[in-house]
Amino acid sequence: MRIGILSFAHLHATEYAAALRRAGDVEIMACDAGHADRPAGELGGPELARTLGVGYVETEEDLWAWRPDGVVICAENVRHRELASRAAAEGVHVLCEKPLATSLADAAQMLAAARAAGTVLMTAFPVRFAPAYAELRTAVRRGDLGRIISIAATNCGGVPTTRDWFVDPARSGGGALTDHVVHVADLLADLLDEDPVEVYAIANAIPNPGQNGAAVPVETAGLVSLRYRDGAIASIDCSWSRPPGRPNAGDLVTLTVVGTEGVAEIAPFAGVLTGWNSRGAVASGYGAPLDDLLIRAFLDAVRTGEARQPDAVAGYRTVALVEAAYRSVTETAPVRLEMESR
């Protein structure tokens, strides 16, 4: 099987490349067009491909000409639509890095293109494969929590510093709301099997300002409030609020689900070995290999031609939520969640 990697712009590409290699029996070809334009010191191009042990072509046309069975799209967020649409036109299956798109219109176009071509479009939400989430889902389905009253979700990290495009809205589509709402929004959508009806959001750029204390051009703090049809409420803290150099505390993603019969909490990345040495804190994660599970699901989808979860709709509904959140910030009012196609 032939799998292409379209761009190293998002460095998850390196982890997907490693997972593809571990999956075995996969020919891997990467293309990192535009790598020469990146700031000095940002890894990429043929050198990174060599380090990862995958093949490399210079242009995206070369990659399509290689006739891949599937591609993993890790380009800048705003390029997802263009690349996924091209893949559909080429009859190629897609695993797209999150967020699926930077606008609902883009996401809808990607869904339509894949549907028309009969190709698979999946969204890279590896946390969906976390054993802790599976336990939570089982507990909720079994009724251990009774009726759900409220949920508090967090996905807080630092400002991404490995690539400069994350804080350039023209290429990323936005800051913390774009980057960090979708993972937990996907978990909520799957857990409750339902989308919220209304979204309210507030944001600022106070945490982790740029050089000389100047605000970065995108939001670094965001709080989102959701209301569901049956009255359940949820909050999401998506802030890039961790300072640089903070050791892994295992709290990248958390969900607290409060019910009438029980309260469940998950921290899928809580598995961290902690200690100290003469250079300071030592922390290394030992959680389940979520990227491998995601890649395995994608390869299975490519093999069978049938989408696996998390699919295109999973990505689409989270894009709808993020778009509503931005509208709420602009209007300083709650907004109805709108989705044209499901």
């Binding site: 929590l145 009774g146 009726r147 009253i149 409220s150 508090a152 967090t154 807080c156 209304e198 309210y200 507030i202 944001a203 600022n204 106070i206 945490p207 982790n208 300002p209 204390g213 670094t220 703090a221 709080l223 409030s225 209301r227 009255g231 359940a232 409420i233 949820a234 909050s235 803290d237 802030s239 609020s241 961790r242 300072p243 903070r246 505390a249 607290t256 409060v258 019910g259 009438t260 019969e261 029980g262 309260v263 300083t332 009012a333 709650p334």
Partner: protein, 328 residues
């Protein structure tokens, strides 16, 4: 300073205040309409019951109101008639209008009124304030404050009209803390969900200085342990607190006691003692206490906005806090 405290009410919180007053060297007279004053006194080995409010006001130098929320206003006004400095359990009153009226009257009479927002005297919150004040996280950007516990068993707490529910009983603490740490609040959005005896309120605050906060207060009928959590992130760092972590004492075993509402009193660690000592110091010296009547009023103003937002589904804009002279 020594004297006599007139303690009104002998329920939950009186069990935290009485031993603190005794430890501070006060004589305490207790009146409770619920007829449970004798029990309270026997449990703590101090204080004496009085037959009615007039006897209590006659004996007292300071009044301490530890009754259900809806009775605060009337009792505080009675204490004011006697010109007595008054400690009032949080929330100051059941409604914002009552709180405005009460604070204005105490201020006009020049009598100190102390809202017992005790969380400002809990060690981890004191340390949070100190850390933020000395610049450990730079400029405050985003806060999360969470408070959750088992639904109260006592009837009045669950009666919205008497207690104001989880908003006025639990969230009022974090409203005060969020304002203490993040500054005045200019916009509030909130949602609440009530299912039988369980309820959650989530409030989203926009502070005048630009910070944003989410507060979550929960009562659930599930048998959970009481827990408080916070995270405060700023331009240069993040602070984290969780009552379920870093416990200096843990015990599991056959002797495990039933879940008491409040832990045993210790003069060294009791935030209630620290709070009342601060109030007493303020009465004696005229120095501002850590939490003033105006702070209690501002907490009520924000709580009122939370309730209105949750009811209407719309954000509520607040006017900047008035520059009045605090009654305290």
């Amino acid at each position: 300073m020594h004297g006599t405290v007139g303690l009104i009410g002998a329920g939950g919180i009186a069990n935290a205040h009485l031993p603190a007053w005794l430890d501070l060297g006060y004589d305490v007279v207790v009146f409770s309409v619920a007829d449970d004053a004798e029990q309270l006194i026997a449990r703590h080995g101090g204080g004496r019951p009085v037959a009615g409010l007039e006897a209590l006001f006659g004996a007292a130098d300071v009044v301490d109101i530890c009754t259900p929320t809806h009775t605060h206003r009337e009792l505080a006004l009675a204490a004011l008639e006697h010109g007595l400095p008054t400690v009032c359990e949080k929330p100051l009153t059941r409604t914002l209008g009552e709180a405005e009226d009460l604070v204005a009257r105490f201020a006009a009479a020049g009598v100190p009124l102390f809202p017992a927002h005790v969380v400002r005297y809990f060690a981890e919150y004191e340390e949070l304030w100190r850390a933020v004040a000395r610049g450990d996280v730079g400029r405050v950007g985003v806060q999360r404050h969470t408070r959750q516990g088992r639904s109260p068993q006592s009837g009045w707490y669950l009666d919205e009209h008497r207690s104001g529910g989880v908003l006025l009983d639990l969230m009022i603490h974090d409203i005060d803390v969020a304002r203490w740490i993040g500054g005045d609040v200019e916009r509030v959005f909130a949602r609440t969900n009530v299912v039988g005896g369980s309820q959650s309120t989530q409030a989203f605050l926009t502070h005048a200085g630009g910070a944003i906060s989410v507060l979550t207060a929960t009562w659930t009928t599930a048998p959970i342990e009481f827990r408080t959590q916070f995270e405060v992130a700023g331009s240069d760092g993040v602070l984290h607190g969780d009552s379920a972590e870093r416990r200096a004492f843990r015990y599991q075993g056959h002797a495990e006691p039933g879940a008491d509402l409040l832990p045993d009193f210790s003069p060294l660690t009791s935030p209630y003692r620290a709070e009342l000592a601060d109030f007493v110091h303020s009465i004696a010296t005229g120095a501002a206490p850590r939490v003033t009547a105006l702070d209690g009023l501002e907490a009520m103003r924000i709580a009122d906005a939370v309730a209105r937002s949750a009811a209407t589904g719309l954000p509520v804009d607040l006017q900047p806090a008035k520059e009045e002279v605090s009654a305290a």
